[in-house]
Amino acid sequence: MKYKSQKVAYWFFALSMLLLVLQIVYGFVMGFARIGFDNLHEFIPFNTARAVHTNLLVVWLLSGFMGAAYYIIPEEAQKELVSVKLAYVQLISLALVGVAAIVGFHFNIWEGRKFLEIPRPLDYLVVANVLLFLGLILVTLFKGKRQTTTALVLSMGLLFAALLYLPGMLQFDSQVTDSFFRWWVVHLWVEGVWELIMGGILSFLLIKLTGVDREVIEKWLYVIVGLTFLSGVLGTGHHYYYIGVNKIWIIVGGIFSALEPLAFLAMALFAVNMYRKGEKKHPNKLALYWTLGAAIVSFVGAGLLGFAHTLPQTNIYTHGTLVTAMHGHLAFWGAYGMIVLAIISYSLPNMTGRKMYDSSIGRAAFWLSNVGMVGMTVAFGVAGVAQVYLERKFKMDFMAVQNEISIHFVVLVLCALVFTTGIALYIVDFYKHGKPTDEALGIND
């Protein structure tokens, strides 16, 4: 820890934790509704709970990415953040925009476009917020003593993520065209530029935790993000198979989607190999768990389950079913949730001075949250496959099928309880670290 301005990251991470808790609460509202306990319908109907759940996911991850950038960039660029005050302004405005959006969803104020429900006026505030964030990060980076590959890849991911928000603000009369360009945002975020962010954070953590030479790690970082874009950009086509656009996307999307797991496989092999190769054994075991866990779980959730779901021959049956929710949950958790928790686990002891590197609470948090999420994924998968067979093969009515598969949502809720226990323990551990202090920073100087 060398730069006092890094402690602004703590507050972004704290906001992340708060939003994650809220996201889980709304997840339970949906889980209970699916098994017939929809008692909150009058105040929180399913579509409200769903919009809140998915948008909070995006915002807590973005807050985590921003915190990661505020922590990583000063250290990589060897320069204090150009303005800590503006970073706090950006944090508060991010929280206010998020709260305004979430409250609005409860009063039927939204756009009704999956993942992009934030109403247009708030979109402009999001853009202003992200521009401020990018300004702070990029000016710090380019005024710094060095521009490392890790910092450049991370910043490039954040910059592209901001640019790709713009196609989502275009308005179309046709549902097909609307959906087509909505995927430019959603797909190219999660299966494109967010992987750059993940790769940048992963690279930073591996350099710090394993002691492997930066040049080696950053070389493979280029290969991985290269594979990501090579497969992921044209892999967007898997969203276009059956929404009313030309068949060319079935061929192109089918081929390039099948290649998408390569990037995740490379990331998992990269992380495990660097760990084995590293001579330095950093005492922060928890950060190492989350780092290696993110690389491995993302390969399973995003890579393997994504591959199974996006083959055109499979997707014609699984498109628009709970199979998508199966893939989505493990993919988001592995690739992005876990990497945010990894950078928090690494940076927290450095910012607070409390070296709780291998606490039993922290270990339990890791295992319970992962076991819970895998259980939820299996429950979604079984429900989804049953839905496909009953509804699309045996022509049963939608609601009759939903009643048949509701038992799987009981399992889902039970697994979600295990997951929630893990997250609660993680937050207890977060709280126990205390706040970042100048004294703690001084100790590390």
Partner: protein
């Protein structure tokens, strides 16, 4: 052995080439002649219907073109399906659900009471009818078995 410079060239070159192909395919697939989005048949009423669909976040429960929340039925070809189920009165059934002052609760799963006007409900039906005519590369027949039966007769 791959150098860092070569790895960077692979990243930048691969990204540029795939983005250019992606843009080219986008232009191609939405160009006249190969476009199958049914854009030409879009009416003012269907456009208003889409706006109502979005402003009420119907996709937060239902799916359309296979996209949504999987909590309530897929609405691609819903007019056809309900016409078969209710002896040609599919449109009226949809309108009555949308205009209902009380919550619609089929099989115990609740839908918000939207209390729409006759015109608004008609616009949403027009939107569904327009959606139903899109060429979905075969998905429409998978997602709507009743409509598929009708086509096979």
């Amino acid at each position: 052995m791959l150098s860092k410079k070569q790895a960077r060239a692979f990243f930048l070159g691969g990204t540029l080439v795939t983005f250019l192909i992606f843009i080219g395919l986008t232009v191609y697939s939405l160009s006249e002649g190969v476009d199958q989005t049914n854009h030409k048949d879009l009416t003012e009423s269907a456009i208003r219907g889409k706006a109502i669909w979005e402003s009420n976040n119907c996709m937060g429960c239902h799916t359309i073109l296979g996209e949504g929340a999987y909590y309530a039925p897929e609405l691609t070809k819903v007019v056809d399906r309900l016409n078969i189920k209710y002896d040609g009165n599919g449109e009226d059934v949809i309108k009555s659900i949308l205009m209902s002052e009380g919550p619609w609760q089929p099989n115990g799963r609740k839908m918000v009471a939207y209390n729409m006007s006759e015109q608004e409900a008609a616009d949403v039906v027009e939107f569904f009818k327009w959606i139903g005519k899109i060429d979905l590369n075969g998905f429409d027949r998978v997602v709507s078995p009743l409509a598929k039966d009708k086509q096979n007769k």
